[in-house]
Amino acid sequence: MPTLLKKALRDVRQRLGAYLACAMLMAIGVLFYGAMTQVAANMPVAMQAFYSEYRFADAFATLHALPASRLKRLTAVEGVEAVSGRLTATAKVLGDTREDTTGLRLISYDPAEQNRLNDVLITEGLPLNAGSYAMLLTEGFYRANGLTPGNTLTLAFRGRKLSFTVAGAVQTPEYIYITPEGSIMPDNKNFGVAYVPLDILEGLLNAGGARNDVSIRFKPGYTFRQLERSLIDALSPGGLTRLYAREDQASHSMLRLELQGIETMVSVLPVLFLLLGAMVMSVVIKRMVEQQHAQIGLMKAFGYSGRAILRHYAVYGILVGLMASIMGGVLGALTAGYIADMYASYFVMPGISGTFSFARVAQLSLLALAFGAGASLYGARGVLRRTAAMAMRPATPEGGNKPILLERLQPLWRRFSATAKLSLRNLFRSRSRSLLTWLGLSICYALTAAVFAFSPMIEYMMQENFTEVQRYDYRIGLVNIADTRQLEQTLLSMRPVALAEAIAELPLQLRAGAISKDTALLALPEDATLYRLFDDARQPVALPRAGVVLTYRMARELGVAVGDTLLLDISYPDTEVPAVVGALCEQYTSSYVLCNRSYLSSLLHGRQFATGAMIKLAPHATGAETERLAQRLNEAENVASVADVAQMQQNMHELIQTSMGTLYAMAVMAIFACFAIVYNAGVVILSERTRELASMRVLGFTLNETSRVVAFEQLALIAAGILLGLPFTGATMEALANSMASDTYAIPADVPFSSHITSVLAMFGAWLAALLVMRRKVAKTKMADVLKGQD
């Protein structure tokens, strides 16, 4: 083995802690990459393959009833390649307990249809036969409820009880990601999609050949924008309520958002951690080079060239890169399967695999080696300047012998003890090292605080939503529209209903100039108490007498402000009316356009109607009473859906708890990064001060007094890191929240105080741990050995 390599290996072993910490930071990068890159590369491909093989539609329409003849004519529209007409309805599953609010969306399935759009892949069980009361269920629901072929499900459907046999489980491009109505989180136990033979559903709905759901696939080269007008014309006779593009389809848009997130994780995070590791690494190397200045002088005196010595120091970085690759590779191989499983449980489609790719890890390992070597060269670049003669004198501190800033304040400076002066000068003299460490610490702080802000923010969002905004206990949706007053009175007559407010919810397109947005309109009673609006300062917003209320996000996207006029395009009844933006509000889990019920009726020329209602129970309602009410609502003929807020909140809470795996992993890593950087700063300080600390101990300073020099220096760095970290945290959070926001989902970008506390605690915890290690090292140092030689 070359002698210099031996030296390198011994040097690394001597400062193993410091180098290991660098390597681990880099290893986190390799780990992320190794474990996620396969999923990231694989998901879009799997998605595309699934889409084309199972003919995922380009446009979707919901209507009242489109006669079969009209459906045929749709194929003749220019640019349309294929059309599938289906019947859809909602039903509730009756379980053993009456409070169950398990919902199923029923979709008709014609066993005879050729090349059906949004086809299903049967993963378990058998295909459906015409005329049988059997259903294929989406896999998530099927598994979450532990079903097997042959099981029976009893449904409450339009006031009737029906029994269906479970035929099997399916996957479909239309429901890769399934969420219940009005929710952003999957809830596999309580919501799913069931495919039912067409003739059965036709009979149940008395549809007589008409369809209420149409999927359209375009010929290559056609876009939704181009075809929209002609599709509306062709579909309007069927009472079109909503026409939307694939981009706005729930499963597709969620999947795309997630792919985007994975893309970021794979491309940004690994490089971030490699950089962080490299930063720390260059500091360690720089220090080591300074410490070895006598050796370097000697090597030069022997005739080594500056480049040869630089090459020698690059070896350290390569060693660290190697350690990082191995650690990251092993950890990645161990976690890849788990990560793929996690994704497969949220996104139900064939072909998500997370086999660990050594080839890809090798790519990143090369990058890690390059980063390591680069960091070493950067840290060691000073050796080129050094001459053999300089080895004979104590190293001149980096900042030269110029007085540091504080020294100018003589009255203050004179008050410091010599040890404090020592710490302060160390800090200010090794400026570039301090700066790098400072930056690293602040990044870690921001990362930790932002990651920890996430879960409280989501909790907060739910809290706001379920206690401040949605103040009702139940929300029902009707099959057929009803008169508002009559509906409220009917509901109030049921025990233990204390308050009922009828609402109208309509699909809607907003237009402002050339920009349009598909969304929904929610009309509330003038003095609504069960649904309240808030602005971004959490102040209540009153529902204006005339005009609509938009979310800030929506207003931004449409480029409108309060007082502007926009066009409301309501498709059923087909109306297009101008409306004034009366106010703006914040909505975290929805993006309703809100208005006053009477304002809506004036827009629709006096028609007063409700599509549903919000219900508040009496405060002393008993469990039995509540259960009976839920049962009555569920079985009522005109009730299409019943949403139990408590249940929704509970479900959402549980889901958030379990679905934040990635965030928790990031939090653990951020805390780890804090430890690595703080510890490393300490090790560096310590190794460069060994001689001074030993001298101090010979002079008679105690172990504690000696350690204090290091502790103080580090503490100053940490405090500065936290200060700089504060603005970084806000920016990080803003970026994270923005990258995750969508039409129906916004995360407040505030950082709660508690996550700052967490982050500060993490930093100080790291500091204390590092101090303990260092104190032990100081105690173990053999004074006589350290001091007998020259450097």
Partner: protein, 234 residues
């Protein structure tokens, strides 16, 4: 003369792997108040080891070191620290100054922790470094650094100065300067000074000369008429 410190049957064994080095093999020695002592001996004979043990920065494998009735070899770290702080001033061949502190601050550092330190500026005058007080070690010559190191050791007002080859890295002229400073502290402040050296000429300055060979004292010699530093033959 008053006894200052006494080492009895000191043994020191270094173990590195399978190899054992017996640096001290049952050495006994007594230092008295106000003495000027020179320790001679071939390289590797155990001089530095002895001085380190007497100064409380290394531990003997067996034997006793008695200071004011207390056995330092059995003393806890707290006592050793106190001993180093109050009783001992160390001077090394390679100065070991704090590179980030000025000459004055290096001395201040020691004065800060002593019970009855000498005035820092007086120390600077004593070693003739007043005009260089604000300079950092990297701006000083070897002899100047060594004078600061001696001033730092003395500033604590210790009972003894232990110097391991204090002139080893210096030329004749600066060597004499350094010896003069040490002599000054011995004579004018009454401090015990012990110097390890390879330069037999320096032995002429001493009240007492110990010669160490193979880890034991091979010879002890008393000087009736110590010579001044200027007359030392190099």
């Amino acid at each position: 003369m008053q006894e200052l410190i006494r080492g009895i049957d000191i043994k020191k064994i270094y173990k590195t792997g399978d190899v054992q080095v017996e640096a001290l093999r049952g050495l006994s020695i007594t230092l008295y108040e106000g003495e000027f002592i020179v320790i001679l001996g071939p390289s590797g004979s155990g001089k530095s080891t002895l001085l380190n043990i007497l100064g409380g920065i290394d531990a003997a494998t067996s034997g006793q070191v008695l200071f004011e009735g207390q056995n330092l070899c059995a003393a806890p770290e707290r006592v050793l620290t106190h001993y180093r702080r109050q009783a001992v001033g160390f001077v090394f061949q390679f100065y070991n100054l704090m590179p980030n502190l000025t000459a004055r601050e290096n001395i201040q550092l020691a004065a800060d922790i002593a019970a009855q330190p000498f005035d820092v500026d007086a120390m600077l005058r004593d070693v003739d470094m007043s005009d260089r007080a604000g300079h950092f070690p990297s701006q000083l010559s070897g002899g100047q650094q060594q004078r600061v190191a001696i001033a730092r050791a003395v500033a604590k007002n210790p009972r003894m100065l232990l110097c391991d080859e204090p002139t080893g890295a210096l030329d004749v002229q600066t060597g004499v300067q350094v010896l003069r400073v040490l002599r000054h502290f011995n004579r004018d402040y009454g401090k015990t000074v012990a110097i390890i050296t390879h330069n037999a000429g320096i032995a002429g300055m001493a009240d007492k000369v110990f010669t160490i060979r193979d880890g034991v004292i091979a010879a002890k010699h008393r000087n009736a008429h110590p010579i001044p530093p200027e007359e030392v033959a190099w």
